[in-house]
């Protein structure tokens, strides 16, 4: 009898165990409730488009166009910080970007790793879109598909080009000896895939291929990429892709193509000519001449905390006096220039009433002073300058067109401007100066010097106690013109070749 009871008990226990075993689903086979399973998604055209939204969101990363306290702002203000446009203020800096500003970075500098990763994150988004979009494309949504794909190609090309601007040793279009970066066209999660660096020629070929695809696709869409009216243009439309083409062609030295693309980009995007239209681009009070801006919504920080901490009025970096001064009577940008008011404000250091200019372009939307501002990444002013430079370099009869663009731009910016007549080197230099004025604080100076004179000589304030800079000159031969491939990435991918000198 005992045996029977024992048996029954064991059976009962086994049954109970089984009941708990059935709850395997309840306890073990759990799936996330607050994120989307990427094994089976994106599973519709709508979700593909949502990944595109994610791709744009990735541009806001602190090391792409976003910023942290004294850090980040990779393609927004970092190229200004690393050039002669800004100087580091001894009395206010927290020295968080000292390695970058003083060109003392090396392959283990954290910011370098971030600059390497941020664009590739955008590329990963684009590759997911391009992998999946065709699965959901049919006769009824071809226009939507084109619109999504076109932007994905444009983002992929732009992110690759941005990497190239920092990490490539040289910008030569046709060099097969100089190394660019790995051009990635597939999204792969793997420990065994170890890409190699493409040479410049292949890399440019890929960028142009992607941009040309984007131009074609965005010419046949279901609805406008950006709304017809509004205060912003947060998405890459066909004008923006042309603008990117103009920029890439300028770096590549394809002068005629650069000029053509700039003209196409300017189609329907005239220069802003009033103070309110010009300033409004940065304050989100007017669309101005925006071709494309990176959108930062409320609470999503902004592009300029690396240099100016808007909520504390603290300037880690200030404009060099060669660019502008508090008096507004000397320097490249003076008070009769509508850029002066749009870019700078007298914000002295705490406890020191001496007037002092801060870079307040991105101080906030409207009248706000919270640093939450959009980054205007592509606009008509740059297109005028690209076309001017391209034509000036083509020389001959094109110099007339170049001069016309330069004078037109200046007339739009400077009160009471009298047109000038310049040719040859003087014209090219004037365009370069204008470029420094126009694109101040928009992420160009370091790259412009890199592709032209290849020398940085910081201005008069460098070497004085006011500036904490330890280095005032970057020689043409310096290795720092190209950022090193990060040590951690080299460790993970033995196929990558380090830049010379590191």
């Amino acid at each position: 009898m005992y045996n029977k009871i024992i048996k029954n008990t064991i059976v009962a226990f086994a049954a109970f165990t089984l009941v708990q075993g059935c709850s395997k689903k309840e306890v073990i086979e759990l799936t996330p409730e607050f994120s989307l399973d990427a094994l089976s998604n994106p599973s519709s055209m709508k979700q593909v488009e949502e990944v595109l939204t994610g791709a744009y969101g990735s541009l806001r990363a602190a090391d792409y166009f976003g910023s942290g306290s004294g850090t980040g702002s990779g393609w927004a203000l970092m190229p200004d910080v690393m050039s002669d446009n800004l100087y580091e203020v001894s009395a206010e800096t927290l020295a968080n970007s000292r390695a970058m500003a003083d060109w003392i970075f090396n392959s283990s500098t954290g910011q370098i790793t971030s600059l390497y990763s941020a664009p590739y994150n955008t590329i990963a988004h684009a590759n997911i879109i391009l992998r999946d979009v065709d699965k959901f494309t049919n006769a009824n949504n071809q226009g939507q598909s084109n619109r999504i794909k076109g932007q994905a190609y444009a983002l992929r090309a732009m992110a690759h080009f941005d990497l190239f601007r920092f990490f490539a040793v040289k910008y030569d279009r046709s060099s097969t000896a100089d190394l660019a970066m790995p051009y990635i066209k597939d999204f792969t999660v793997s420990t065994s895939v170890k890409p190699v660096r493409n040479n410049n020629k292949d890399y440019y070929d890929n960028i142009f291929a992607d941009l040309n695809q984007a131009v074609t696709l965005l010419g046949n869409v279901d609805q406008a990429v950006n709304p017809a009216s509004g205060l912003t243009r947060p998405f890459l439309d066909r004008n923006a892709v042309y603008a990117l083409l103009a920029r890439v062609n300028l770096y590549a030295g394809n002068w005629a193509d650069a000029a053509t693309a700039a003209t196409n980009a300017l189609n329907g995007r005239p220069l802003a000519t009033t103070q309110s239209a010009f300033t409004g681009m940065y304050k989100q009070t007017d669309r101005g001449e925006i071709i494309w801006n990176v959108q930062f919504e409320a609470g999503q920080s902004g592009p300029s905390f690396i240099a100016f901490f808007a909520t504390s009025n603290r300037s880690y970096f200030r404009p060099a006096p060669e660019v502008a001064t508090a008096a507004g009577t000397t320097g490249l940008i003076q008070s009769n220039d509508l850029r002066y008011q749009a870019y700078f404000t007298n914000v002295p250091a705490a406890g020191n009433p001496t007037p002092n200019l801060a870079i307040t372009k991105y101080r906030g939307k409207g009248t706000l002073v919270d640093g939450n501002a959009n980054f205007v990444a592509l606009r008509s002013g740059e297109m005028y300058l690209i076309r001017a430079e391209a034509n000036a370099r083509l020389g001959g009869a094109n110099e007339v067109t170049a001069l016309a663009d330069l004078n037109a731009l200046r007339a739009a910016r400077i009160t009471g401007y009298t047109p000038v007549v310049l040719t040859g080197t003087a014209l090219i230099n004037a365009i370069a100066d204008e470029r420094r004025r126009e694109m101040f604080g928009e992420g160009h100076r370091f790259f412009d010097l890199k592709r032209t004179t290849r020398i940085i000589q910081r201005g008069s304030i460098c070497g004085t106690p006011t500036s904490s800079a330890g280095n005032c000159t970057l020689a043409a031969t310096a290795r720092e013109w190209a950022l090193p491939i990060p040590e951690s990435v080299l460790g993970a991918n033995k196929n990558l070749v380090q830049n010379p000198g590191y």
Partner: protein, 987 residues
């Protein structure tokens, strides 16, 4: 003949069957100071025959032939007493960790220590209880070998960092598992638990000891048993403490006003002080430390009651604790209630334990380098500036709203106008039901279920007047999070003796499931004077600046286990433990969710052997050995190792971004532990101790395998790779130095040496900032360039190259290994004296041979920051050629005398010896003799004075060397120096 031998006193009390009665034995059981012990079990011939009453008295019937009885009570050493024919007066001594007669609790089961092959340490609940910490784990420091307990923060209620036998995981969790009354409770979350309710705290260290928790026991297990009721008349206890805490000595000396002004003038007078201004400022010497800190008061009260009948017993308590921090406005208020009930009806036993706690923590930011953090302000604010302008009485803001002249936010505004609170509600409830089958003695079934529910609400308010908060007119963030976990364990157990054979085993099934949710908001626009939701202005498109941010999330995970534990003993000499288990966790890749673990342990009670019978030396000697595996599921990959997209937004539209690469093959991190132990007592038990040798090897380490971010945007993939070893020796000793009639002197000491070594890595020598992961080196090895002083000719800092030559050119390639921040040597020594009713004890703890990077010092040495206050030694910086000093010139550019001199942080200039000795606790107590109390109606009374951290010996330059991690980041909230006066009364 079958004998019923049970070791669980509580259970045993009621299973004794009637037998022949021949004589009656009476007596009284007390502690050495005369306090009666109630509920102690009296056994004769291996069978329990009764228990003591509330007054400690007993009267039991035993067979005539009986010559001795055994008295046992949890928390005390067992005692065998020879019958004399007259009433017995029996004194029990408090159990210590090494007592072989002691019972050990490894969950809801218990086993006699002698028969147990696992490595285990028992911390006296008295020790844990008496120290007024807001988080009980802090009181474990120095109490047990192999267990490193370090307070990272003195903030009231802050938990300690507890590591059992070293760090076993590089990227996964290293926190031990905490079990209370058989169920898992959230680790490092104890501010709402009252340690006064604890009856036992056991630390389980090896694979056999943690066998019941094999799926989660890789980092060791801390088992807490709460107090149970005792049969007898109702007993009431009142315990109270009142005291104060103060700031420890600060070993990082900053400049005073005179020195700072001198330094500023030396650096070019950045603020342009006139001579008159400078002279006047030199005299200010304002103490930011005094302005923001205080002597904090502590008081706590607890009432507990215990009682019941033989079949139904209860314990209940209420407690209140109010501890002020040493930083003004900070502190902890805690309210707890508990009731534990145990019942026996025929063959059924059931019980329920309920605890509810509410705590309110007022905190301030710590361990950061933020300008606005008050704890940084006390170092950084210039001593010639003040918290308040003496002319207006309002906060001094010469640098603009919220700021001092230097641009440093006024720390007093940040501290007094802002607030940073968190409220915790925590409920731990467990219940069990046990059935003893009537048809087969020793066979029982048991099911134990419990929940741990925690709700945390944290609030941070930024006053609109404070630095940086004007732009959006202040900010209020409130976040609410709850975590709910249930644990259920069901088992069939069998325990029986056949002659010389003892069997004890069970098969178990266990399920643990955790769910968490959180949500919160940040609102702006505090314009109407209110600092809570009433002050919030909800933004709109017209007022985008005040648009609140909202968010939320959640997660869940679960564990399912099946296991069997089998113990066998032969002849009271040889014992064997076998454990086998299969565990599943939701946290692993679908392909590898289940894994098998097991352990085997043997014990040989050498002193029970015939050949030892006449040993003069050994009163007890036993050898233990065990080997086994346990798992860790505290992954670094979070709860879901599948590829996922996370939510993202752009331009007001919602989207998806790759969130995690996932790894469908992600699997358990496994610990393989070998343990060999010796327990001994010699010299008539005057010296007893244990020696443990262990080898803990972690395999399949959680490791984020780095990949080139170009292919996926991810920098790494969660993987299992490599191995790590902790090897060490633990020594615990306890000796009675003197044992006279009225006087006794006992010394207890424990010492641990733990050697941590990385054995295998996917990529050797991974440098991460100031540390390196290198095969053959310990985890948390610092990796810095040796600082080689200043070049007298040009004032440049110099560094030592790998070839030992000196250079002015810094390169990370010159970094060398510098030791580790995890002390390999640590322990504690406790000396206790008692004389009649007086007792005095002192505990000295030590952590040796550790180094730490002092970033707190870096913050005040970096010459860029000279607009704020600086380290006093900077006055010695190089100024002229020929100056011999250790502080380089503050400028970084190249000069005519030498090359550029950029400030470098990753050097040994900031590396400091982090070893320390600490007088952890001193207690002087007096127990009022029962004789004096007998007429007052008071059962027992004791008063005491105690102090924590009264003395610290260290070379570390800061407030407190007691910190974990490779770097002392900054804004340290040092461990409190406390003094309290306490009272325990029993009715």
């Amino acid at each position: 003949m079958r004998k019923l031998v049970s070791l669980l006193t509580v259970l045993m009390l009621f299973t004794a069957s009637a037998f022949a009665q021949n004589k009656t034995v009476t007596g009284k059981v007390t502690e050495s100071n005369g306090t009666p012990i109630s509920g102690a079990t009296i056994s004769a011939n291996g069978k329990p025959v009764g228990a003591t009453s509330a007054s400690g008295d007993f009267s039991v019937a035993v067979p005539t032939a009986t010559t001795s009885i055994v008295v046992t009570s949890i928390g005390y050493n067992d005692r065998t007493v020879t019958l004399t024919g007259s009433a017995l007066s029996i004194t029990l001594t408090t159990a210590d960790a090494n007592s072989v007669s002691e019972v050990v609790v490894t969950g809801y089961t218990s086993i006699q220590r002698k028969k147990f092959s696992g490595a285990i340490a028992n911390v006296s609940a008295q020790e844990v209880k008496k120290q007024p910490f807001g988080s009980f784990d802090q009181a474990l420091q120095g109490q047990a070998a192999g267990v490193s307990v370090i307070a990272n923060s003195g903030q009231p209620g802050a938990n300690a960092v507890v590591r059992i036998r070293g760090n076993g995981s590089i990227s996964g969790g290293n926190v031990p598992l905490y079990i209370m009354d058989g169920i898992e409770i959230t680790a490092a979350d104890f501010s709402s638990l009252n340690q006064g309710d604890f009856e036992r705290v056991e630390l389980l260290k090896d694979a056999v000891a943690t066998a019941m928790y094999g799926s989660r026991g890789a980092n060791g297990v801390i088992v807490i048993s709460t107090r149970r009721g005792r049969a007898g008349t109702l007993q009431l206890n009142y315990d109270a403490q009142v005291g104060w805490s103060t700031l420890p000595q600060d070993r990082l000396v900053m400049m005073n006003s005179d020195q700072k002004i001198t330094y500023e003038l030396q650096r070019g007078n950045p603020y342009g002080w006139t001579t008159a201004e400078a002279d006047s400022l030199r005299k200010v010497n304002f103490s930011w430390k005094d302005a923001l800190m205080q002597t904090g008061m502590t008081h706590q009260h607890m009432i507990s009651a215990s009682g019941g009948t033989a079949t139904s017993k209860f314990f209940a308590s209420l407690s209140y604790m109010d501890q002020e921090g040493i930083v003004q406005t900070t502190g902890l208020k805690r309210y707890t209630a508990r009731i534990n009930v145990d019942n026996t009806i025929k063959n059924w036993r059931f019980g329920i334990n309920l605890q509810a706690g509410f705590s309110k923590l007022k905190q301030t930011g710590e361990a950061n380098t933020g300008l606005a953090t008050p704890l940084n302000a006390i170092r950084w604010s210039n001593p010639y500036e003040r918290d308040r302008d003496p002319r207006t009485g309002d906060f001094q803001q010469f640098g603009g709203p919220g700021y001092l002249t230097s641009g440093q936010p006024n720390g007093a505004m940040e501290l007094f106008l802002d607030y940073n609170n968190s409220i915790q509600i925590k409920t731990v409830a467990t219940s069990y039901l046990e059935f003893h089958f009537p048809f087969l003695k020793g066979l029982s079934a048991r099911t134990n279920w419990g929940i741990d529910y925690t709700n945390n609400e944290s609030t941070a308010f930024n006053d609109p007047r404070t630095a940086g908060a004007q732009a959006r007119a202040g900010a209020l963030s409130r976040n609410s999070a709850w975590n709910f976990r249930y644990t259920g364990t069901t088992s069939i157990n069998y325990k029986q003796n056949f002659g010389k054979h003892e069997f004890d085993g069970g098969i178990f099934t266990e399920v643990v499931k955790s769910d968490s949710r959180n949500f919160g908001f940040t609102g702006y626009g505090f314009t109407n004077g209110f600092t809570n939701e009433a002050g919030l202005t909800a933004g709109s498109t017209a007022n985008a600046n005040y648009i609140p941010a909202i968010g939320g999330g959640g997660s869940r995970n679960g564990i399912q286990s099946y296991f069997g534990i089998f113990n066998y003993g032969y002849d009271s000499k040889y014992y064997l433990t076998l454990v086998g288990r299969r565990d599943g966790s939701s946290r692993f890749g679908v392909n590898n969710r289940y894994a098998n673990f097991g352990s085997v342990g043997v014990t040989w009670s050498v002193s029970s052997e015939k050949f030892m019978e006449n040993s003069k030396l050994f009163d007890n000697l036993s050898l233990r050995a065990s080997i086994g595996t346990t798992g860790n599921n505290n992954t670094q990959a979070g709860d879901f190792p599948i590829p996922i997209f996370g939510r993202s937004t752009y331009a007001g539209v919602s989207g998806w971004s790759p969130g995690s690469p996932g790894n469908l093959d992600y699997r358990w991190e496994t610990n393989r532990t070998i343990n060999v132990g010796i327990d001994f007592s010699i010299l008539k038990r005057r010296l007893s101790g244990s020696i443990e040798l262990y080898d803990r090897k972690t395999l399949d380490l959680f490791y984020a395998l780095p990949i080139d971010p170009s292919i996926s945007g991810f920098g790494s993939i969660p993987s299992n790779f490599g191995s790590l070893r902790n090897r060490g020796i633990e020594l615990s000793l306890r000796g009675d130095v003197l044992r006279a009639k009225d006087f006794s002197w006992t010394i207890a000491a424990n010492l641990t040496y733990n050697q941590n070594r990385i054995i295998d890595l996917p990529t050797d020598s991974v440098v991460a900032g100031i540390t390196i992961l290198k095969e053959g080196k310990a985890l948390n090895t610092l990796y810095l360039v040796p600082y080689a002083g200043v070049n007298p000719a040009n004032g440049n800092a110099q560094y030592q190259k790998k070839d030992k030559s000196t250079t002015m050119v810094y390169t990370p390639n010159d970094k060398v290994y510098q030791g580790t921040s995890d002390a390999p040597w640590f322990g504690g020594i406790t000396s206790s004296w008692s004389y009649k009713g007086f007792d005095l004890s002192a505990q000295l703890n030590f952590f040796l041979n550790r180094v730490q990077y002092n970033n707190d010092k870096n913050n005040v040495v970096n010459p860029t920051y000279f607009f704020d206050n600086m380290w006093v030694e900077l006055l010695k910086e190089w100024r002229n050629p020929g100056d011999i000093t250790n502080i380089p010139r503050p400028t970084s550019g190249a000069t005519a005398l030498g090359p550029s001199n950029p400030y470098q942080t990753q050097t040994t200039f900031f590396l400091e010896d982090g070893s320390f000795w600490r007088l952890r606790n001193v207690t002087l107590g007096y127990t009022v003799p029962t004789k004096l109390l007998s007429k007052t109606g008071i059962r027992s009374a004791r008063v005491f004075v105690q102090g924590q951290n009264w003395w610290t010996g260290t070379k570390f330059q800061g407030f407190d060397p007691e910190a974990t991690g490779v770097s002392l980041v900054g804004a340290q909230y040092p461990a409190l120096v406390q003094t309290t006066i306490g009272l325990n009364v029993g009715f």
